[in-house]
Subunit: 427 residues, 2 copies
C-alpha cells in the first residue's frame, strides 16, 4: 500500500512554516501499514500542482493538505477540478455549518465564505467540525485522494475521524490498531534499549512494534499492535508492556503519557504532603515545571530561588560555616537547602538543587556540570550528585527532570536514583 503526502503552500516553500503536518501524517500512515513513498510540497501555482498530482497517481493513497481557504491564492480546488476534469457542487450541510460558524462568532458572513461550501463534483464530503473548509475524498484513476485543509487541528480531526474508518474499510489495513504508552526517565535511550530491553525484540514483528520517542523529560515508549481480532491485539500489547515493566520497571514513571511533574503531584497528593523547593542553578525551573499542572496549588506551597549565597544563608537558613567549609555546590549545602525549604515554606517535603550550570564558574575540583541535589521527606533525607555537560541550558533542563525523578522514586519507595547516582543518606 503506497502513499504520498502532497502539501500545498508558498509559506512552506519560503520557510515561514515548518511542515509538521507531513510528519504527523507520515507517522499515522506508517502505523496503519502504508509505505509513505514521497512527501512533496509545491506552491499555490496551478501548473506546479498539476505536475505534482500527475506524478502522484501511481500511489494507492494521496493525502493533499492546504490551499483550501477562501482567498484568491488558495487554488487547490481549482487545480483538482482541472486534474479530475470535474466541476463544483454546493454542499448544503456545509453551507449551513459555515453560516452558523460565522454567526456564533459574530463575524460578518461574506460572499467569499459561501465558496467554502463548494466541493468537487466527484468528491465525498468529509465534514469538518473545527473549521469552514470541508475535507473531500475522491476515488479516481485507481487512487484514493484525500483533500484536507492545512490547519493542523482540522487536518488531524479529518484524518482520525473521517478518513481512518474509510482506509480500514477499503484497504487491507488491520481492523484493530492499539497503541499503548510507558514513560521512562533517568536512563539514556541506548542503555535502555541495549542494556535492559534487548530481549523485548523477540516479541516484536511487523504487527507488533516498539517506538522510542525521546523528549526533554525522558523517553516515551509506544507499543503498537495491529490485527483483525481486538482481543488478540490487546493481548499482544499487554505482553510487550508487561515484559518492559519486568525489565525496566524502576525507570517507568508513568503508565500513560503523564509528565514527571504530574506524577510527582499525584504522589504528593496521595500522601497529603506539601512540597517546598530550594533552587539555585535551576533558577525556579523546578517550581515552574511543578506548577504547570492545573490544581498544583493543592501541594506546591512555594519555592525559594536562592541564586546568591546570601539568600541561601539568610532566607533558607543554610549555615555560614557550611557554605564556608564545603561551598555552595556540595552535599552538605544541598541537604541544608532542602531542609531549609521545608522549614521556611512549612512543608513535609523539601527538595534542593545547587550546581555549576556553566559556562563559567567551574574549578578543577568542581567543574561545570557538577550538580548536587537534596531530598527530604518525612521518611528519609538524602543527597546525590550527577555530572552533566558543559551546556548551561541542557544542564538546567536535565537537572529539573533528575530531581523530579529522584523524588518520584523516593515517594514510591524505590532506592535507585536516576542515571545510577548514589545516595548519601542523612538521618
Amino acid at each position: 500500500m503506497k502513499a504520498e503526502i502532497l502539501t500545498i503552500g508558498n509559506e512552506i516553500l519560503i520557510g515561514d512554516i515548518v511542515n509538521t503536518n507531513a510528519s504527523w501524517l507520515g507517522d499515522q500512515l506508517t502505523q496503519l501499514g502504508f509505505t509513505v513513498k514521497k512527501m512533496v510540497t509545491v506552491g499555490d501555482s496551478l501548473p506546479e500542482m498539476l505536475l505534482a498530482l500527475e506524478a502522484s497517481k501511481q500511489n494507492d493513497l494521496v493525502i493533499i493538505t492546504g490551499g483550501l481557504g477562501p482567498t484568491h491564492d488558495d487554488i487547490t480546488k481549482k487545480a483538482l477540478q482541472e486534474f479530475f476534469k470535474v466541476g463544483l457542487k454546493r454542499d448544503e450541510q456545509v453551507l449551513r455549518f459555515v453560516k452558523s460558524f460565522f454567526e456564533s462568532r459574530g463575524i460578518p458572513f461574506s460572499e467569499s465564505n459561501v465558496l467554502q461550501a463548494d466541493v468537487l463534483e466527484n468528491a465525498q464530503v468529509l465534514f469538518n467540525n473545527w473549521g469552514t473548509a470541508p475535507g473531500m475524498l475522491v476515488d479516481e484513476f485507481g487512487t484514493l485522494w484525500a483533500i484536507f485543509p492545512g490547519v493542523p487541528k482540522e487536518m488531524k480531526h479529518l484524518f482520525s475521524e473521517r478518513l481512518r474508518p474509510v482506509l480500514q474499510a477499503k484497504f487491507s489495513v488491520p481492523k484493530v490498531i492499539k497503541s499503548s504508552y510507558l514513560s521512562v526517565a533517568g536512563i539514556g535511550e541506548s542503555t535502555l534499549s541495549d542494556g535492559y530491553l534487548k530481549s523485548v525484540e523477540a516479541l516484536l514483528s511487523d504487527n507488533v512494534t516498539l517506538a522510542y520517542l525521546p523528549h526533554y523529560d525522558g523517553i516515551t515508549l509506544r507499543i503498537t499492535a495491529s490485527g483483525d481480532n481486538e482481543k488478540e491485539v490487546l493481548a499482544q500489547v499487554e505482553l510487550v508492556r508487561n515484559r518492559i515493566k519486568e525489565l525496566a520497571g524502576e525507570f517507568i514513571f508513568s503508565e500513560e503519557k503523564a509528565t514527571l511533574g504530574e506524577v510527582v503531584g499525584q504522589l504528593l497528593k496521595q500522601n497529603q504532603w506539601n512540597i517546598g523547593l530550594a533552587e539555585s542553578c535551576t533558577g525556579g525551573g523546578v517550581a515552574f515545571e511543578l506548577t504547570h499542572t492545573p490544581g498544583s496549588s493543592a501541594y506546591v506551597k512555594g519555592a525559594i530561588v536562592a541564586y546568591a549565597n546570601e539568600i541561601k544563608e539568610h532566607v533558607l537558613g543554610v549555615k555560614k560555616e557550611t557554605l564556608d567549609q564545603f561551598g555552595a555546590v556540595s552535599s552538605e549545602t544541598a541537604l541544608e537547602m532542602a531542609i531549609g525549604a521545608k522549614n521556611v515554606l512549612n512543608t513535609e517535603v523539601g527538595i534542593s538543587i545547587t550546581g555549576i550550570a556553566g559556562p563559567g564558574g567551574g574549578t578543577e575540583e568542581k567543574p561545570v556540570g557538577l550538580i548536587w541535589f537534596g531530598i527530604s521527606t518525612p521518611n528519609e533525607s538524602f543527597t546525590f550528585k550527577v555530572m552533566l555537560t558543559k551546556d548551561r541550558e541542557a544542564n538546567r533542563k536535565r537537572s529539573i527532570m533528575i530531581v523530579l525523578d529522584a523524588l518520584r522514586r523516593s515517594l514510591s519507595g524505590l532506592q535507585g536514583l536516576p542515571y545510577g547516582a548514589q545516595r548519601i543518606v542523612y538521618s
Copy 2:
C-alpha cells in the same frame, strides 16, 4: 532562478523527524532571490531517488540533503553515481580529516569510515569542518547540484560557508545581502503592522523586505536589503530601521536579537542594581527566564515563589489585612509582594506577578486570565493588570514576557506599558 530542495531519508517519511532542514533552506534561498518551486522527500531507495533526481533537472539549483553516512542504508552517493554516470574518487584532504576526527575523539577508525572520503568524480568537494561527510557540488545538465549531509549543523555550515559564495559568483544573486534585526514586545503583530508600521511599506520592494518573525517573547523584525553596492544596501537597511524606530520605538527592546531577559539584565547591570522576584501564578518562570543568561548571578539574587497565600504573608510579608480585604490577585497585593521581594531578598529592584492562570479559580469579579503585576525600583513603584486568555500555559508564558517588558520600560525611563496597560502609581 528556480530551486528545489530534495531530502533523502526514511526517518522523515515515517514521521520520526520533522524536516526543519527544508524550511531553513527555503528561507535562505528565498532571501538570496531564488524561487523554491518544490520540496521533495524520498526514502533511502535507489529507484525513488533516481525518479526524483530526474524530475528536478529543470531547476537552476537543486540542494540534496541526507543519506551521506557510512552505513549501508545511506545510498545518496550510489544514486548520484548512477544519475550522473560517474564513479568515485578518494579525496586525500577529507581522508586525513576523517582520520584525525576519529583519533581526537579516541574512537576506533573502521574501514567503513574511509568511504566517507570517497566523493563523486565530477564533484567539487565542499569541505565540512563539523563532520566526516563532505559536501559536494556538481555542475551537470545545466543545473547546479549541491549535496549536503542531513545533520542540521553541518548542512547549515556547508550552505553558509561553502555554497553561498559559489551562488553569489555563479547566479545573478546580489553580491551584497544584509539583514538587520529589531526585537519588539508588548504589542500584537497586526496592531504593529497596521497601526504603527503601515507607512514603512512604501520603503519596501523586491530588494528591501521586512519580515515579522513572531516567537514566545515578542516579534523579531528582520529587515533585508540586497544589491551590488555595499554602501547602498546598508543605507537602505538603515532607512527602514530608522523609520521603524521612529514609529514604534517604545516597543523595541533590542536592536539585535537579544532576549528580554538579556536586555533587562544589561539594564540592571548598568544601574548596578540587584533584582528580587515574587512570583505566584508564574511559579518561578520569571526567575528561570532571567537566570537563563550566563552571568546573571551578577544581578539576580533570587526569588520567592509564593504559590500559597501563607507564603505571601509569612515569607514575603504581605499584610494579612491586604490579602483579606483585596484578595491575592489585586493591585495592593502585587505592590506588597514586589516590595516584599526587595526587603526579603535585599535588592534595589523587586517585581511581582499574581494572577489567575486557570483553568480553574476564576470568579465573575476576577476571571481566569486576570493577572496583576508589581514593579518597584529606586525610582518608582507601580502596579498594572492585564486580561489574558483561558489557556493556563499561554497565560503563564505571556505573563513572564509582560513583566520583563514592563521592567525594561521602567528601567529605560519609558512611561508606557505592554499592550496599553495603565499604571497605578504608588509613591
